[in-house]
Amino acid sequence: MSVKTEKKEAGSAEVLISVQNLSKSFGDNLVLDDISIDIHKGEVISVIGPSGCGKSTFIRSLNLLEEPTGGSIIFDGEDITDRGCDRRLVREKMGMVFQQFNLFDNLTVIKNIMLAPVKLKLMTKSEAEEKAKSLLKSVGLEDKANMYPSQLSGGQKQRVAIARSLAMNPKVMLFDEPTSALDPEMVNEVLNIMNELAAEGMTMVVVTHEMGFAKGVSNRVIFIDEGKIKEDGSPEAVFSNPENTRLKDFLKSVLK
């Protein structure tokens, strides 16, 4: 974990996702209020904020699991909020890891990983199996290939879930509180995998409560509060010199 990606300046690399004036409301409840942000290739962004601030809704809007009520999202040069855009194809290229893992309970570990690439005809069965095995090896679970999710610990499940998303060769990985449902001793095994992924140059957006990860691994931290991005900067800037008073309060409460 000594691996530290060199922090890229915004604009120095290609913009992968450009969020423009995004808003989302559930009925009368405005959850995201006019959010704009550019996400560059290779960036590892930690999204922090108090609970209920809209950070989960923000990340779920990126792959349109939540349909935005305003604004647009440009992904890889295409406006994915446009009606004519095939959301399914968008989601193929955006991996997502959930707080509750959401492994397919009726399939073995290896079949969980192989299902989408094979069904979507991106790989043959044997290619997918090869890929699944090597991914399982990289998350240290090659011996669990033929087990069912219910036979795994929480940390193991989340590592499989990461492998499952990676099997699709995504352009960006979205993590929605990936360690929040884990017992403390399992948090690190998942964070380690995420560190390695970051080191390999994967673009990642991570909603997290792990301030250690936000500080140590990510090269950009955004603080969302009341549906708006209140702070956006390098971990050093956000953590050592917080300008926003809400952020100061938040950091005080999570860092003690």
Binding site: R88, F98, N102, D105, N106, L115, Y148, Q151, A161, S165
Partner: protein, 529 residues
């Protein structure tokens, strides 16, 4: 595994033991009755009857009749009478014997057959109602057919065939009995579908697995004159006029008395026989005993073995049960398949709407379908499908039953499946979505296999209900297991053994079905750990 089979065995043994005890006790009591009745073949004087003694004595009494018959019309006119309408004449007679009612009003010849079978217990009162004429019924839309049939009846009557047929079944002298032998003249050609109710000896009844009787012989003779081939359809008596009106049958011959009300609905042919309504009453216990001396040589108490023989072995009567069982199984199996296929489709339509808002119009149709089917009785649906939807279509009754029960089951399966799908965590849907899988692929590969495991017990329950629900197939004249037992009951005049046999067969079927479901459940459970 072993434990399961042991308990299964125990349940079955217990059931059989229970049935045996029941049967022995009932048998014993019936045997006692039989013993003190074994007498009264008094032909000399008018025997004393209890409760109802004459036609003037009917007001305020409990009168049994067969639904839709002239007897029922007459009984309705009797002041203060409590009229109980039975689907079958034989059931009314059984009720009379069991003292549930006081008398039965029914056609004379049929009454004779019933009383013959219940010698010493029942008798026909000397008073009778006015003479009435029997005629066949034909739809008012078919005047040509009516004219053809009328001239055919005239020909049969003028040539003496008609008299010979009646004499053969209602012999005045012994030599006439069974003297009419039919030889088929026309073997190919258009069908002439004749609706009847084979519970009405000697006009129409089952014998050795076939429907026979005066009306059947007349129907055959008419068909020959018309150059058509007769097909006999057995159904409930009160369904016959409807079947003829709707075109399900060309002609109804079932001892129909010409009445004004019926003539409004349907055309009557010229009459071919005459009869009258008589009253069957129960003999007084004293009358039953008084002639005990007459000897019981020719009226021996039947042993249990005898009764088994009469109900199941004689004339191959067990075939009614095996044929019925076979039909019940075919109907249930295919109805299940239809139910599963349509049920899953309906459920998926509804879930697709609930989760994604897609297919709104299909969703409304599915919802409507489920509501309508679940809100109406299966029997009414079966009758509607047979008599309304397929009114003028010549369609196999088993197919009708399969369609009716399949469509019915689909609505219940749909709700079971939908509840199963809704019980799966939304995260499973989202995970499939986030990988770029289509809704259908997520459904088939992820959601349904998990949902299926959860709903298996409920599905098993639905199919057990379905199996038993098919017992109403008899209403469209289809011989299922229940109807098979009914037919035995109508020829042996015994309720106990045929009903218990039918119940036992259903019990065994359900036990096997449940065992199959739990076996499947265990197999699927293996994946869980």
């Amino acid at each position: 595994m072993k434990k399961f089979y042991n308990s299964l065995l125990a349940v079955m043994l217990a059931a059989v033991a229970l049935m045996c005890t029941l049967s022995i006790s009932v048998f014993a009591s019936e045997a006692d009755q039989q013993l003190d009745k074994s007498s009264s073949q008094t032909e000399t004087s008018v025997p004393e009857t209890e409760i109802v003694t004459s036609a003037a004595d009917l007001s305020g009494k409990k009168i049994g009749v067969q639904l839709g018959t002239t007897g029922a019309i007459l009984a309705d006119d009797i002041k203060d009478a409590n009229v109980q309408k039975f689907n079958k004449g034989a059931d009314a007679v059984l009720a009379l014997r069991q003292k549930k009612i006081d008398c039965v009003i029914i056609d004379e010849q049929t009454a004779k057959a019933f009383v013959d079978a219940n010698k010493g217990v029942l008798t026909i009162l000397p008073d009778s109602f006015a003479d009435e004429a029997y005629a066949a019924v034909i739809s008012k839309d078919k005047p040509e057919l009516l004219a053809q049939v009328n001239s055919a009846i005239e020909e049969i009557r003028d040539s003496g065939v008609l008299q010979k047929i009646i004499a053969s079944y209602i012999p005045e002298k012994e030599s006439d009995k069974g003297n009419y032998h039919y030889t088929q003249v026309v073997t190919h050609g258009e069908k002439l579908v004749m609706a009847t109710n084979a519970q009405f000896p000697p006009y129409e009844y089952y014998e050795s697995g076939d429907i026979t009787g005066i009306d059947i012989e007349i129907g055959r003779a008419i068909a020959d004159k018309l150059g058509r081939v007769l097909t006999v359809e057995d159904m409930e008596f009160d369904s016959i006029i409807g079947a003829v009106k709707s075109g399900k049958a060309d002609i109804g011959i079932a001892g129909f008395t010409v009445t004004e009300d019926r003539a409004k609905q349907i055309s009557f042919t010229i009459d071919y026989a005459s009869s009258k309504q008589v009253i069957i009453a129960r003999l007084k216990a004293s009358a039953q005993e008084s002639s005990a001396s007459v000897s019981s040589d020719d009226y021996e108490t039947p042993t249990f073995i005898d009764r088994l023989y009469t109900n199941f072995v004689k004339d191959d009567r067990w075939r009614y049960l095996t044929t019925g069982l076979c039909n019940t199984l075919i109907i249930t199996l295919f109805a299940m398949l239809i139910g599963i296929v349509i049920g899953f489709i309906l459920a998926i339509i509804r879930v697709a709407y609930d989760k994604n808002g897609s297919v709104p119009i299909l969703n409304i149709i599915a919802k409507l379908y489920i509501t309508v089917i679940r809100a109406t009785p299966a029997m009414v649906q079966l009758l509607i499908i047979y008599y309304v939807i397929f009114a003028s279509v010549d369609i196999n009754k088993i197919l009708v039953a399969i369609i009716a029960f399949g469509l019915n089951s689909a609505a219940y399966v749909a709700e079971v499946v939908r509840s199963g799908i809704m019980s799966i965590d939304n995260g499973q849907f989202e995970a499939g979505k986030s990988l770029g899988l289509k809704f259908s692929a997520t459904m088939i590969n992820i959601i349904l296999p998990q949902a299926f495991k959860n709903i298996l017990p409920a599905l098993g329950n639905e199919f057990i209900s379905l199996l038993k629900e098919t017992s109403i197939s008899g209403y469209i004249g289809l011989m299922d297991l229940t109807r098979g037992g009914d037919i035995i009951r109508s020829v042996t005049y015994e309720a106990f053994l045929p009903l218990i046999a039918v119940a036992l067969i259903y019990l065994i079927l359900v036990i096997l079905l449940s065992a199959g479901v739990s076996c499947l459940e265990r197999r699927l459970k293996k994946n869980e750990r």
